[in-house]
């Protein structure tokens, strides 16, 4: 069903609306309180961890380095190879399910407290506040014509923004290329001819500047628009909410009818609720919504309006919690049902996946073996009394040490190994090893026989891998 478009006959009653509009700039009021402290104290260690992790080394390898060029990921002393890609997929699935679990219980706390988009946006807003002052001053500053003060305030803000963005971008790229070399690359050199040049790989420089630019744009300019228009998680998590999910709610039973009053008035007699309609909850909101209109998709559960409202309630000597983290159920019936089948289901799924993941990582063998039967002119070779097959064994040393490997055969017939030249295989190397397997003709019965190759590290017998191939013969 579609509404009829206005026809030409409606002359005078028609106006044209732009389908694309510049979003109104949001000026947020600075507020402090319980939830701001939670964000600060959970955010600090996370940010410090993000900034410092690329600087640490474990046994000479970086603690965390996603070496894309060499196709290996170093994560806390373990080296992962492209063959381990399944693990990355599972890690992401586990992360997603953890997020679902948390969302069912606590709503969009990820968005409000841990998502880098929010954390960096609020960081940039603090810088803005530091350089340009609080909400009212910023509105005034934007309206006034350009003068020295405006240039200095705006200039210093953008300088600090770019600085933070560069630290962020360089640190991020520091997870993909050794960070010390990366940063040294941004130190200008002067050639003998007088030219200034940078000793940096153009790809590393490009991505560092790209992420610097993106951080600056996202946290400085895009802000809530990323959540509203780009982030898929913001949109689909509504389906994870139920009526017992905690979220920031305004308590209309207590608050309405809202309205201004003088301190000390008997407002209840005047038919007013606890909400004094000061609009602080709107002024502090980083996504510019009025929480009193109810749950909205823009709300990221950051708790700024909770802190703002509590501050006002304290001033008015009213009880706190007119806006609070609560559930729909609690607003209606007074109780939140925390233990729900859905929550148990998610928790169980996450625990099961985490255990399986931990087991797979712990039991992972840093040795890979592949056996390829030679595709020569003939299926097999008859050499005197022997039947021979040729194989190419690929030994993938995924350990961080060099190894020499022994090869052992297992099958139903007395197979012997020929032309095996063991060599030292370097860490991370895929070693191509051609060998010949022979068996006395009289003792081989089948045309197609199973043959297992067992590869074992000479200096660490526990490091073992096996691969089954086929031994072809003439049959009987």
């Amino acid at each position: 069903m579609s509404r009829e478009p206005p026809s030409a006959g409606d002359d005078g009653k028609i106006r044209y609306v732009n389908l694309y509009e510049a979003e109104a700039k949001i000026y947020t009021r600075k507020i402090s309180g319980f939830y701001q402290r939670i964000r600060r104290y959970t955010g600090l260690p996370l940010i410090l961890g993000f900034l410092l992790l690329p600087w640490f080394n474990i046994n000479g390898d970086p603690a965390v380095l996603f070496d894309l060029a060499a196709r290996k990921f170093h994560i806390l002393g373990i080296t992962f190879w492209p063959q381990d890609f399944m693990l990355l997929a599972w890690a992401l699935i586990i992360s997603a399910f953890s997020l679902f679990t948390v969302t069912v219980l606590l709503g969009r706390v990820w968005c409000g407290f841990t998502c880098p988009q929010t954390v960096w946006t609020l960081m940039f807003i603090s810088v803005e506040h530091f350089c340009e002052g609080d909400r009212n001053k910023r509105i005034k500053l934007d309206k006034q014509p350009w003068n020295l003060e405006k240039i200095l305030r705006k200039g210093s803000k953008h300088f600090l923004w770019v600085l933070i963005a560069f630290i962020t971008g360089a640190t991020f790229i520091g997870y993909f290329t050794p960070i010390r070399e990366l940063l040294l690359g941004f130190v200008p050199h002067r050639a003998a001819s007088g030219f200034v040049y940078f000793d940096i790989h153009p790809v590393a420089a490009f991505w560092t500047l790209f992420f610097t630019g993106m951080t600056y744009l996202n946290a400085g300019w895009m802000r809530e628009q990323v959540c509203k228009y780009m982030c898929p998680y913001a949109r689909f998590q509504a389906v994870m909410y139920d009526k017992d999910t905690l979220a920031v709610h305004y308590d209309p039973k207590r608050g309405e009818r809202r309205g201004p009053r003088k301190p000390g008035d008997d407002y209840k007699k005047a038919g007013l609720g606890d909400c004094i309609d000061c609009s602080w909850c709107v002024q502090v909101c980083p996504v510019n919504i009025d929480i009193r209109d109810g749950l909205q998709y823009e709300c990221i559960n950051c708790g700024l309006c909770v802190d703002a409202c509590n501050t006002v309630m304290d001033k008015m000597s009213y009880p706190r919690g007119l806006i609070r983290f609560t559930s729909e159920d609690e607003l209606q019936t007074g109780k939140t049902r925390f233990f729900r089948p859905r929550l148990f289901g998610y928790t169980f799924a996450v625990l099961a996946m985490v255990s399986a993941f931990a087991y797979v990582v712990a039991a992972r063998s840093p040795l890979g073996v592949d056996v390829i039967r030679d595709r020569g002119a003939r299926l097999y070779r008859v050499m005197g009394d022997e039947i021979q097959n040729v194989y190419t064994v690929k030994i993938n040393n995924m350990d961080s040490r060099n190894h020499v490997y022994d090869l052992e055969l297992e099958g139903d017939f007395p197979f012997t190994l020929k032309n095996y030249h063991p060599r030292e295989v370097e860490a991370g190397e895929v070693f191509t090893l051609p060998v010949r397997v022979a068996v006395p003709r009289a003792q081989l019965s089948g045309e197609k026989n199973s043959l297992k190759f067992i590869v074992r590290a000479r200096n660490d017998k526990s490091m073992e891998a096996a691969e089954t191939s086929v031994f072809m013969g003439p049959g009987r």
């Binding site: 069903m1 028609i14 030679d374 020929k418 030249h421 191509t432 051609p434 010949r436």
Partner: protein
């Protein structure tokens, strides 16, 4: 590309691009009734009683569309896309391949330059060089000689101490570079079947196997007259000619009586192709060292 397809592709590309531009620009604004409250404005879509607000998209979204259009225009100017127009940048996939091959060649060159300076004997002991040798051998030699160099029916085993033309580094290098042609002429028509059987029995006796002494002694004269010139009076072969040693247990073809008789009767012809035209000298040098190392390690 024929003129028709040229026009067809250019026309379609430009038409579609133009259509996209028109759709974007024609839908920037929409007419609404003046009395509609902006906050109550919906798209008019109703489904299960759910309506959709008609809020405007952010302007940067529109600018992203414009950006993609500008990008596609620049792309069509710089890269091939409009029919047979090659684009101002002159990019072709062949040129890109050549650039990448050139890069790989330069990387290779540095390694091979180092290996070329090393004598074969020394190179054969070099772990990294021999690992490279394995792969080079797999790509160029393994089809006939097997991945392990252990040979096949009619293709010599390179991993033993038995050599048709000699196993010194110089001889191996010569074999690789210039190739070899080994020919055993067919004696069947000349000798007749009786003598073929006698010579076969004599050859079997040379290897020290159980044989019919009477038959073999008959073949001895025939052997000395016809075969000894190449295979030697004692049957130990001649590496200058590539004539195989008949006294050992190594057989290039079938070593049974029937197999030997077949070789005598119908002859054999074997060719090792010259690698001079196919592989660079540095690669042949490395392969020589690898083949040499195979027999060393036995």
């Amino acid at each position: 590309m024929s003129i028709f397809w040229n026009i067809w592709i250019i026309g379609l590309t430009l038409l579609c691009s133009g259509l996209v531009v028109w759709v974007l620009l024609a839908n920037r604004k929409v007419a609404v009734r003046d009395d509609d409250e902006p906050e109550n404005r919906t798209t008019g879509h109703v489904y299960d009683g759910i309506e959709e607000y008609d809020n405007p998209l952010p302007r940067w979204w529109f600018l992203l569309f414009v950006g993609t259009l500008v990008y596609s225009a620049l792309y069509l100017v710089w890269y091939p896309g409009l029919g047979s127009f090659p684009g101002l940048g002159g990019w072709t996939s062949a040129k890109q391949l050549e650039r990448e091959q050139e890069k790989a060649r330069q990387m290779e060159e540095a390694i091979f330059a180092e290996y070329s300076r090393m004598p074969i004997e020394e190179l054969a002991q070099d772990n990294a060089a021999m690992k490279m040798g394995v792969r080079l051998f797999a790509n160029n030699c393994a089809v006939c000689h097997g991945a392990d160099g252990g040979g096949n029916y009619g293709f010599p085993n390179l991993a033993d101490k038995d050599w048709l033309y000699g196993g010194s580094p110089e001889k191996i290098h010569e074999t690789l570079l210039l190739g070899r042609t080994g020919t055993m002429p067919p004696w069947g028509a000349l000798l007749g079947e009786q003598k073929v059987q006698e010579v076969t029995e004599y050859v079997v006796s040379l290897g020290g196997s159980k044989h019919d002494a009477a038959l073999a002694s008959g073949g001895k004269t025939t052997y000395q007259q016809n075969c000894a010139a190449c295979h030697g009076a004692d049957g130990s072969g001649n590496q200058i000619l590539g004539a195989p040693n008949l006294t050992d247990a190594v057989w290039l073809y079938d070593g049974s009586r029937a197999g030997i008789a077949h070789s005598v009767r119908s002859g054999r012809a074997n060719v090792m192709p010259a690698q001079k035209e196919m592989l660079r000298e540095e690669k042949i040098h490395l392969l020589t060292a690898y083949v040499y190392s195979l027999s060393l390690e036995q």
